[in-house]
């Protein structure tokens, strides 16, 4: 992905045959995230100002750390993001992740993830771009089939 020059905002979206409530649970509950987020369990109270952590499998170390900025279940979640799986990325400035869930009229919801404020986190920007794609594809498969990808 070395040809990418500007990755300060990344947008990913996917239609999922599920309700906003189901998608919200899949994003915020560790038993779900461990099945599509590279085995990572999420931990947060999701109150504004609360810590946001994505654990490595077995909670061996923190992979991602941030703070909840905005939480409006089951529509919108905003948190900061600092990648800790790599020391170079861990020294960059925190970026921001916004999850938006829009209900459709036919039982299909649109999930959009915007990862922005990456101006001072170029290594993080390059590192997460393939990851979000796999995470959203896995999340869709999990919710629609009940099976991890």
């Amino acid at each position: 992905m070395s040809t990418i020059t500007a990755l300060t905002t990344q947008v990913y979206s996917v239609f999922i045959r599920a309700t906003p409530e189901q998608i919200w649970d899949a994003i915020t509950k560790p038993e779900f995230t461990s099945k599509y987020f590279f085995g990572s369990e999420i931990e947060s109270t999701f109150e504004p100002g609360a810590r946001y952590v994505q654990w490595a499998p077995e909670r061996e170390r923190e992979w991602v750390e941030g703070e909840i900025v905005e939480s409006d279940p089951p529509r919108r979640l905003v948190h900061t993001w600092l990648s800790l799986w790599d020391d170079d990325q861990g020294r960059e400035q925190p970026s921001r992740v916004t999850w938006e869930i829009d209900a459709g009229d036919d039982g299909v919801s649109l999930l959009t993830v915007v990862h922005d404020r990456l101006e001072d986190a170029p290594k993080t920007a390059a590192s997460v771009s393939g990851g979000w794609m796999r995470i959203l594809s896995g999340l869709k498969t999990l919710l629609e089939t009940g099976e991890p990808l």
């Binding site: 020059t5 500007a6 905002t9 947008v11 979206s13 996917v14 796999r134 594809s137």
Partner: protein
């Protein structure tokens, strides 16, 4: 048309693939920027972008007074997971079987 149909249809055109490549190189561009790189009318580029948007391959976001176009690679990943993985896994497995068989009999 199913979601896959829309993606395959959108990808079955060289101009639209070029637009995706441009966004891959630099994401979050305006129509004017995208248009300036193509020998095509503004209307023509808009038409292609609309087909890409319908397929979910391009997502637009407002930034102030500008409408920015972002490449959304998720539908391509879904096609990959649905169509490519399935067949390549089979081949890899067949080659692995062949290797075992040849090595066992050697």
């Amino acid at each position: 048309m199913t979601d896959d149909d829309l993606v395959f249809r959108a990808l079955a055109d060289p101009t639209r693939r070029l637009l995706l490549d441009r966004l891959f190189e630099r994401d979050g561009r305006t129509l004017t920027e995208l248009e300036s790189q193509l020998e095509m009318t503004r209307f023509g580029v808009m038409k292609h972008l609309r087909i890409l948007e319908d397929a979910g391959l391009v997502v637009t976001r407002r930034s102030g007074r500008e409408k920015l176009h972002f490449l959304n690679p998720v539908p391509i990943r879904l096609i990959h997971d649905r169509w490519i993985d399935k067949y390549t896994e089979h081949r890899v497995a067949a080659l692995a079987d062949l290797k075992h068989e040849l090595e066992d009999t050697a």
